[in-house]
Amino acid sequence: MALPKRIIKETERLMADPAPGISATAHEDNLRYFDVIIAGPTQSPFEGGVFKLELFLPEEYPMSPPKVRFLTKIYHPNIDKLGRICLDILKDKWSPALQIRTVLLSVQALLSSPNPDDPLANDVAQHWKENENAAIQTAQEWTRKYATA
């Protein structure tokens, strides 16, 4: 299948006018596959970290959501140890009016506001709920350990 115009357009826009703290570059051999780098938002336990993600646009995109996964280890109640992200717009709340940029901004926002009530990594969420400060400390440690370039 030829690459839809919309994907080309989005890629161009991401290159020409990247969202702050986010960079996404398409693989040359597969233009549906993106290497993403998200900077940890300020005032979050992930501040100072540089997180690598992968993003893949399936055949049905934009009718079905992109697949996004963290490649960098991260201590977050909504991200499991395989890097999978619990985010509604990546699942049932997807809408074709959303785009790569909005998805990545949402992921960035998720880093700023972890939601332990809708966990994916149960142990982390438990930790977060029982002792938020300690959890945040762990997250900072992990950020230092794994996410500093």
Binding site: M1, R6, E12, M63, Q99
Partner: protein, 537 residues
């Protein structure tokens, strides 16, 4: 052709144009709207895009309010605006970019002020500017933005006269057209559809404050019918004869001529009769049969209903596909009469053409769904494509589908091969480990576990799906290890459970890795123990 267009193409100085551009884009495909339709929540999309979306979901992509195709309404004015914008976008963009460039070069020239040429250039600019600001102001006001930078100048207005006016005219289009439709007694050109000529005629006086011009001859019947909101296309089967909005020229003012049966405006009918029909000549101004005009506004262009594919067998579906084509040619005539003005051959060319009906049910279903989508979307367009183009699109779809199928098939096979190999390799490894573990266990406990009773099926490369086979093999291979380490046993049990749920393949893989790691540790431990023991005897 610059086929990748984006609102960001517009220079920053012309933000209102950028806004117009982005407002006229479909949120789904990010293209300028094609056959704009509005949902109940007042969000607009391309008909085709939203139909494809509503095939899967039943919410508005913009606000998630529940909706359905039956609640879609054509947004005629918006569609016309988008179409006109499409027409003029490229040249308008050139003009605007040129203007920006000139401004910069002008500024440079002004600071230097040493070249005679630059002075010349500047004065030319000034002249042009006077003629052009008005247009820009008009167009940007249409975009709803108030802050118009007075510095805008659009040179070369003369060259692009047509385009710019299109743009301005269309933004205020409906009101102007209605006005015209009311005043115009008759037409010289007959009810031809809104033509470029008539637009640019009135367009040349396009400043907003000019009085309504009664003179420009806009064909009244067609304006009336084009203005007719055809939103009831097919969605409501037979709408009760609603009273026409007063602003639109009422239909009944057209009457069929009793002699030639062409559509004639009522007040003109006697003149027409005397002058042409009774004199035995044809009226050049009115050559469209009354029936046809009436037909256009009636909901004849029925949308193709969706099918519930699951209740149809292959044969029925095949028949439906063949009928689709026949309906298409039928529709071609009617659609054609609305806009494309019967390129005369459409109907003949596709009279006997049905959609292809080969392939399995899956393919036929997809083909039918695709055709229904593009056909119905085409019905929403104010400039519908002829059926021949739809058929071409279907051809392209057909080719893409075939390619896609073969590609997918190949990918699947390749993947299976890789998986099989991986599985086979892994199993070999595990068997080896198990053997070693068993060996060390026998050394350790002095009891020989009956490995013969649980044969390890690792000698034959697996052919079926990995998850179905790996589960039993892993449990059997780890039986000896169980004696050694309870943790391993637990891990194996959970791994087996995971293996049954194939969708958790990655957890499974992870767990297996864990198991392997533990095994290794175990092995190392026993090895050290053995080495400790062995010197004693």
């Amino acid at each position: 052709m610059n086929d990748i267009s984006d609102p960001s193409d517009w220079p920053a100085e012309y933000a209102p144009l950028k806004d117009i551009d982005s407002h006229l884009r479909c949120p789904i495909c990010k293209e300028l709207l094609r056959a704009a339709v509005m949902l109940q929540c007042h969000h607009n999309f391309c008909s085709e895009c939203i139909r494809r979306h509503l095939d899967k979901e039943s919410t508005c992509p913009a606000c998630r309010v529940a909706t359905s195709t039956s609640q879609m309404r054509r947004n005629v004015a918006l569609d016309e605006i988008a179409n006109s914008f499409k027409d003029c976008r490229e040249s308008l963009l050139l003009t605007v970019k040129d203007a920006v460039q000139r401004k910069y070069s002008k500024q440079k020239a002004a600071t230097r002020a040493d070249s005679v040429e630059a002075d010349d250039h500047y004065s030319r600019q000034q002249k042009r500017r006077r003629t052009s600001t008005r247009i820009v102001r008009a167009s940007s006001n249409q975009g709803g933005s108030q802050d118009v930078n007075e510095d805008y100048d659009i040179p070369q207005l003369k060259q692009d006269d047509d385009e710019d006016e299109d743009f301005v005219m269309h933004s205020q289009g409906s009101a102007a057209a209605v006005q015209k439709g009311k005043n115009v007694p008759r037409s010289t050109s007959g009810p031809v559809l809104r033509s470029r000529a008539s637009r640019s005629q009135s367009g040349s006086t396009s400043s907003q404050d000019s009085p309504p011009v009664p003179a420009p001859v806009e064909p009244s019947p067609s304006t009336a019918s084009a203005q007719q909101p055809p939103s009831d296309l097919g969605t409501a089967p037979t709408p009760p004869t609603q009273p026409q909005p007063p602003s639109v020229q009422p239909k009944h003012s057209l009457v069929p001529c009793p002699v030639c049966s062409m559509a004639i405006p009522e007040p003109y009918s006697n003149t027409h009769l005397d002058k042409y029909c009774l004199a035995g000549t044809k009226d050049p101004a009115y050559s469209i049969p009354y029936d046809m005009i009436m037909e256009q506004t009636a909901p004849v262009i029925a949308l193709i209903p969706k099918l519930t594919y699951s209740v149809l067998n292959d044969k029925q579906l095949r028949k439906k596909l063949q009928v689709c084509g026949l309906r298409a040619s039928d529709h071609g005539v009617k659609l054609g009469s609305r806009i494309v003005r019967l390129t005369a051959s459409i109907s003949c060319a596709f009279q006997e053409l049905g959609l292809p009906s080969h392939g399995d049910k899956q393919q036929m279903m997809k083909r039918h769904a695709e055709y229904v989508t593009i056909f119905n979307a085409n019905c929403d367009a104010s400039r519908p494509r002829p059926v021949s183009e739809l058929m071409k699109a279907m051809d392209a779809w057909e080719r893409a589908y075939e390619l896609d199928i073969t590609a997918k098939e190949e990918a699947k096979q390749a993947q299976r091969r890789v998986q099989d190999q991986e599985q086979w390799r892994r199993k070999q490894e595990m068997a080896q480990q198990a053997k070693e573990a068993a060996l060390s266990a026998t050394l350790h406990t002095g009891v020989m576990p009956s490995t013969e009773n649980s044969p390890i099926p690792s000698n034959t490369p697996p052919t079926s799906h990995p998850s179905s086979q790996s589960a039993p093999s892993s449990s059997s291979t780890f039986v000896p290890a169980q004696a050694n380490n309870n943790d391993v046993a637990v891990a194996v049990a959970s791994a087996t459970a995971f293996a049954h749920a194939a969708k958790y393949a990655d957890e499974y893989a992870e767990l297996m890795a864990d198991v392997r790691r533990r095994l290794d540790e175990d092995k190392a431990k026993t090895a050290t123990e053995n080495s400790k023991k062995s010197p004693v005897p």
